[in-house]
Symmetry: C2
Subunit: 329 residues, 2 copies
DNA sequence: TGCGTTGATGAAAACGTTTACATTTTCAGA
DNA sequence: TCTGAAAATGTAAACGTTTTCATCAACGCA
């Protein structure tokens, strides 16, 4: 049997109120009582039951975090940032992954809500129209989106569209005219759509006709053969812009295996800024995001919101362009 | 104001006990009452407060997960496995990272204990002598170690020593005689020690004298110059066995930058089996572990323990040797 | 001495559930 | 119609805290 505050009180010869005060507001307790309580706590190995405390306080100190997957290091790094900032702000992290599935998004949000997390940090499929986010607003549960970018919601992200356009422009400057874009399912990710928009912007600004996006499952372990065909066939593109680095790496592998030279035969540009990309051969050029920062800043802002009750505006963090061997020889 | 079971009872014209039963054991409630309750729940948007339930039941449905870092994809993949298995078993995951620091291990365990998690999945510095693990045993809190390997505790891991020895043997078979080992701080990781033992085993079995381990901080972003010196200097090794893939990748980068050829000038062998290693140039040879499986199996076993009350034995999963360009031309 | 202020303490209520136990209702069989 | 068992329901306690409110002692001051 694990000791409760009642046992401590009895052992120390004081009331449970005094024990509670000794724990939370020691200055309101006589020195004699304090040391009696300390002794009793040590003797019994008492540790306060947070569940009781949370029920009474109607606060859990929990932050619900919902991300698509941890297999993509982008989200793992972001989570790392969240966790570090949560520790600093004395919150704990309850984690759920969705694997880009709507039913899992719903289940996760429901669970987090039932668990009475104080706030949430989320990446959802489509921030703009999302019934559950509206529900969070109604319930006035503080939340922050990460990676999603949407005027009507509190987000921490880069400017996906502008960043993508800048990346594609980098390819255009190198003389590419036939540039394809590969992306995870647009329907599963508003970021993917925004990045595709950025691609279109840059193409049109150069007087070119943007291609249709070549879609592929976000979590697929390899490229479908017919896609490989389009990238290696007779009218293949001279450059490929990939909606994220994971895809870019898959593409690089497949094309290299098919005997294409990168970047001479085809240039590859990613999006995310995964560190590991720098170590590939050739090094992956990419539009980089500050992943750990995205998480940490989101947590900081959420903390501010929880502290002040003031909803905070979105935050757009700077992106970067990391040049590398995959786009210039 | 968010609705409670009491509001639902009032709205439905029944007692709270009936509402509770309608929720948990619907077969013990008349159809009339069931539908009245359902209607009330829908009307009020009631969602059961898990905190109240957890307090009453003395069960939280939470699994505490403590890992060194998520920046190393090994642990991110493992966490992914844990999360997936936790979902299947209807548990939720509370995450804490330690960054290989003893004070953070202690803080995390304390927090998880206070939060009354039903069980824990942990990677600790040293499984064998670890006061807090002893404490868990005393409190009979079910837990499973991952990556740690220790006869006296419930672990899910590979056989680190044998795996390392097999990897090093692979190098020996290729004619290497001067093989160095680079590792994270041995004092921060029993796995590192076991892998070093395996290295020594293999070297001695070949009649060679094992070198001292070259230690480096687990989380350092680059190699210290003096270490680079030893790897590139006049009596440099012809092969380097790295205690984990992350280190191996750092080593590869540095040595390539110094103009050494891999594997002609120096062969590199990692440990972990990170997928990304296959995409490097040259592809990283490594001793592979089934990371997601380690997490998933640990969670399954923990679930079994929680269900049955029976502590389960350790599980040693098979390792593999992934050959690659970093050890053979 | 008497009074008011301050500081320490305790009793009890409250947070939202589940469940043991008691009570009421239903219904089949005589 | 009556009886008894079974089914449905309700009352109240319990889980471990925090906090309000009341009580009481101590003490300074007139």
């Amino acid at each position: 049997m694990v000791a409760t505050i009642k046992d401590v009180a009895q052992q120390a010869g004081v009331s449970i109120a005094t024990v509670s005060r000794a724990l939370n507001t020691p200055d309101r307790v006589s020195l004699a009582a304090q040391s009696a309580v300390q002794a009793a706590i040590a003797a019994l190995g008492f540790r306060p039951n947070l569940i009781g405390r949370q029920l009474r306080a109607d606060k859990t100190g929990l932050i619900g975090v919902m991300l698509p997957t941890l297999s993509n290091p982008v989200f793992a790094e972001c989570l790392q940032g969240i966790e570090q900032a949560a520790l600093a702000a004395n919150y704990r992290v309850l984690l759920m992954t969705t694997h880009y599935r709507a039913d899992r998004e719903q289940h996760a949000l429901e669970t987090l809500l039932n668990q009475r997390v104080d706030g949430m940090i989320l990446t959802v499929a489509h921030a703009a129209q999302h019934a559950w986010l509206d529900r969070l607003e109604d319930l006035s549960v503080p939340y922050m989106l990460v990676y999603n970018q949407c005027d009507a919601r509190p987000c921490v992200s880069v400017d996906n569209r502008a960043a993508a356009a800048q990346g594609v422009t980098e390819l255009l400057l190198r003389g590419h005219r036939h540039i394809a874009m590969i992306s995870g399912q647009l329907q599963a990710s508003d970021r993917a759509q925004q990045r595709y928009q950025g691609y279109c912007d840059a193409m049109r600004a150069a007087g070119l006709v943007p291609g249709e996006p070549l879609e592929i499952d976000f979590e697929s372990a390899d490229l479908p053969p017919e896609l490989v065909g389009r990238l290696t066939g007779p009218d293949r593109p001279t450059a490929v812009f990939c909606g994220n680095d994971r895809l870019a790496i898959l593409v690089m592998r497949r094309l290299l295996a098919r005997g294409l030279r990168i970047p001479q035969d085809v240039a590859i540009l990613g999006f995310d800024g995964l560190e590991i990309g720098e170590l590939l051969a050739p090094a992956l050029a990419t539009v980089s995001q500050p992943n750990a920062d995205i998480g940490a800043r989101a947590m900081e802002r959420l903390h501010g919101w929880l502290d002040s009750g003031q909803r905070l505006a979105s935050l757009v963090l700077p992106h970067g362009i990391r040049r590398g061997g995959s786009i210039h020889a």
